[in-house]
Symmetry: C2
Subunit: 334 residues, 2 copies
């Protein structure tokens, strides 16, 4: 395997000495600033205000448990009351994190932690130690699986490909593209701006160009034009949530890209996190964010008058429109 160059968006958080550091993605690429988080409330805010997103918020969710568990003082390790105290603390963390952004399957991750806690109590194990070890192991396995998927994406990308991507897939596409460059594949990426947050412009363009990949920014409006002119031959996007039937939620705009890609016969690849927890796309709650995020740009109101705005943060793409999924944790040879 070619040596992997890592994007700062691939693992945008860390935990040291009970303090979490999270890359403030709203400041990228102007500044590579890491926000320090010491409390559960701080973690919820950083997710809700979209300072971190996609994989970053999963890291924040998991690190929050590790960080908060460190703070819990218990009188005696195997004491029932102490164990109950830790369990309640874990449930409180899970509850607060779950409601920070409705579309995300935080409950699937926080549910795992709660189950570990219950399992520890049932087995008479020290709950803090058990949950901590398991969470650390879980994080390591996710890291290995994501690195495996990066390799898988690199294999999907062929010499001469012109790839359209939308929003940002947390370093995986950039790292895969970097592998392709080392393998002498000639590739070009078109990144959509991804209004209103400009994740495509601010994050994707930046990390791809840092990785030495030829990248061109286009308006979200340009997808039909690019495809009708034959300028892209592949679409690769991520997913914020996947369903048992293969439907997936991703940044608003993904649905129309999928429809247009199907119309022009351009294959669409989706990085998924398969899950049986949610049956179909119809069951995914869609977060409706504040109209102000659409009406303002960098804090300043762009348009005068009595304009109202509607900003669903995500849309749900039916499985039928997807050419191939690249799921996490599945070996490409399986």
């Amino acid at each position: 395997m070619t040596k992997l160059k890592e994007s700062p968006l691939f693992w945008p958080a860390s935990l040291k000495g009970g303090v979490m550091s999270v890359l403030d993605e709203t400041q990228v690429p102007k500044n590579l600033h890491y926000i320090k988080i010491k409390t559960l409330k701080g973690a919820v805010n950083v997710i809700h205000n979209m300072k971190t997103r996609a994989f970053g918020q999963f890291l924040v969710v998991l690190y929050t448990f590790l960080m908060e568990l460190e703070k819990v003082k218990v009188s005696k390790k195997t004491d029932f009351r102490s164990q109950e105290k830790v369990l309640n603390k874990i449930k409180k963390i899970a509850h607060d994190l779950n409601k920070s952004r409705p579309t995300f399957p935080f409950s699937e991750v926080t549910g795992i932690i709660v189950r570990w806690a219950v399992m520890a109590i049932d087995s008479g194990l020290d709950i803090k130690t058990f949950v901590k070890k398991n969470t650390e192991g879980y994080l390591e396995s996710i890291r290995a699986k994501r690195l495996g998927r990066v390799q898988h994406i690199a294999e999907v990308i062929q010499d001469g490909d012109c790839i359209l991507t939308h929003c940002n897939v947390s370093g995986e596409l950039a790292m895969a593209a970097n592998i392709c460059l080392k393998e002498k594949k000639d590739i070009h990426v078109f990144a959509t701006e991804t209004r209103p947050y400009f994740q495509g412009a601010k994050l994707t363009c930046w990390e791809l160009s840092e990785m030495g990949v030829k990248v061109t920014l286009v308006a979200d409006n340009a997808v039909g034009s690019l495809m009708s002119d034959g300028l892209v031959n592949k679409v690769i996007v991520g997913s914020d949530r996947s369903c048992a039937n293969g439907d997936f939620a991703n940044k608003i705009g993904t649905y129309q890209i999928a429809v247009v890609a199907e119309h022009f016969g351009v294959p669409m690849y989706v990085l998924t996190q398969p899950s049986d927890k949610i049956r179909s796309g119809r069951d995914i709650p869609i977060e409706i964010r504040k109209a102000d995020e659409l009406l303002k740009f960098e804090g300043k109101k762009v348009f005068r008058g009595k304009v109202d705005g509607f900003y669903p943060g995500f849309d749900v793409v039916p499985y039928a429109l997807i050419t191939k999924t690249i799921p996490i944790g599945v070996n490409e040879n399986e």
Copy 2:
């Protein structure tokens, strides 16, 4: 017919005492500022820099002839040399205007004026007077036809309609919507932002809300989401150029709206200016504008790094995707 309230975008230019005034659409809705134009060069600049667009630039093209003709001093009305001088002047105006924006069919309009000039010479008429009278008559007929189309659009819009529109159709939709309100039709318009110039947000939202119409701004990304959720039941867009076979060019993003509308079975209505001058969409030259217009916002560079941009100003929609055209100058009862 209900009394018509006129949008400032419906007829955004005027000519008085040899000086043209053009609404600076880049300042709308912050300011209703009119730029004064005294020269051919000024007219070309105002079009090239998109201070005016769509119907505004047609007005500028026609008024430029009237304005420049006023300046031409001729020694004797029917003198051959004088007539030749005026003809050359007209050809020069036509040439300069034609190249100001490649996608627009200015040559179709300027060609008419040149033909009038040649016709005047052949008939021994005073060229200045003949061209001036004809141009004024032509403008009056366009005005009448556009007012007729406003009425036609109002008839297409039904009580309860939720209409998606893109970019801006120079007052016609807003005026039609205003008629609908007077007829007690309950309607709602979703306007796309229309990146990178935000014409939807700045112009369409503004003129619709000024007309008392319920309007909601959405990201260009939200079209698939709106349609999959059944929130729009009709699309109405304009066209910057129409072909003999029914294909049409319009603001970038229109093609993908048409594809998505077809996918969801939402009917798409297009305001056209039918023409036999260009055979099919393939023959329409597409203006590629500067990447900076995408990379900068209100003059300020938004994203650091070595990001390149690609900004085709228009896309060409095949006739097959259109449900119904609403051409200018065609009576709805025909």
